[in-house]
């Protein structure tokens, strides 16, 4: 919860920054050493407090940079970087596949049908081909008949095999999940009656949410041959995009 060294360094930060920075000693400034004047440690020479060399021991954490299309720092809600928008991705590095994944992938691809746990705005939906999906929001800038690709999935599976992404999502080049926008529906008008005590007045709150209706066209796990054809690189170590698991 609380970075003690960070704070201790700041408390001990003397006014003369320049001299402290130039000294390249690896003394870790400690809160007790900086504040208490009575104790003198053996490793420290007898010197006035301000003159003790204090070097920057911890490096500040680099903050992530979200660059918008205009290459500026996002200021308002309108500045959404490209990777947070629903646009087709561009890849600069080829897909890394481990040897074990290549060996186990035919088990999964040969067993039909498949299911996918696709994440839309971080909400999971378990889908199979032909399902109807009712999203709890009105999807912007689409109309009925459009074909969408889902590109965030945590789990791909068949009856006996599962491809899991682990902590992050599966690489979107491992599978194809297409859905079609069927239209927009709404729920029947809901009226909630609200009352206050000792008041003969009933407030009626209405709501009528609108939904996007989608139809899953296909859920396909790409085979090992297809992956290699598309330029996947085989890596020995385990830092590949996913791991296949045998179920029971």
């Amino acid at each position: 919860m609380f970075s003690r060294t960070t704070l201790a360094r700041a408390l001990a930060l003397p006014i003369e920054h320049s001299s402290a920075r130039s000294a390249s000693t690896t003394f870790r400034a400690c809160l007790h050493q900086a504040t208490s004047t009575t104790t003198t440690t053996t490793s420290q020479p007898e010197a006035p407090l301000s003159a003790t060399p204090r070097a920057q021991t911890s490096i500040p954490i680099q903050q992530p940079r979200f660059l918008t299309s205009s290459n500026s720092i996002p200021q308002t809600r309108a500045d959404v970087p490209l990777n947070k928008q629903p646009v087709a991705p561009t890849f600069d590095a080829p897909l890394k596949v481990s040897q074990s994944l290549l060996e186990l992938l035919p088990n999964l691809t040969s067993q039909k049908p498949h299911f996918i746990t696709a994440h839309l705005h971080d909400r999971p939906y378990l889908l199979t081909a032909g399902d109807q999906l009712r999203l709890p929001f009105l999807m912007p800038k689409v109309k009925s008949g459009d074909i969408l690709r889902f590109n965030r999935a945590s789990v791909l599976g068949s009856r006996d095999f599962t491809l899991k992404g682990g902590a992050q999502y599966l690489d979107e080049r491992l599978f194809e999940c297409r859905v079609r926008v069927m239209g927009f529906e709404s729920e029947p008008l809901r009226i909630t009656e609200k009352t206050k005590r000792r008041r003969r007045h009933v407030q009626k709150v209405t709501s009528k949410h609108r939904y996007t209706i989608l139809r899953v066209m296909d859920v396909k796990v790409k085979t090992a041959e297809e992956l290699l054809e598309e330029g996947a690189v085989v890596v020995e170590s385990a830092d590949s995009a996913a791991n296949v698991e045998l179920k029971a």
Binding site: A10, L13, I61, Q63, R77, L120, H121, S144, R152
Partner: protein, 95 residues
């Protein structure tokens, strides 16, 4: 190189002494999960020390705007439009 404290209020000061409330107010933390940035200095560090049980502190290299802090939490949409409605029909006609 200047660095900043990134302070996030994790626990509310409700029920704590007035002094604790005042320290949070001085830091600019009004509600839980609010994030503020302050340059690394002894006075700010002292303030943090007063409320160290309530906040989470990181040392970072620059200030983030409010929108950038929001974007860190914003999830990916998870979809994109592959084909528009009319294009399929037009491809069929051409073929």
């Amino acid at each position: 190189m200047s660095s900043y404290f990134r302070i996030t209020l994790m626990r509310s000061a409700i029920g704590l002494p007035r002094r604790t409330h005042d320290v949070l107010k001085a830091l600019g933390l009004k509600k839980r999960m609010a994030t503020v940035f302050h340059p690394v200095s002894p006075s700010v560090a002292g303030n943090i020390m007063k409320v160290k049980e309530l906040v989470e502190v990181q040392e970072v290299d620059r200030r983030l705007t409010k929108q950038e802090v929001h974007l860190e939490r914003k999830p990916d949409p998870g979809y994109y439009v592959e084909k528009r409605a009319g294009t399929e029909l037009r491809e069929c006609r051409r073929a």
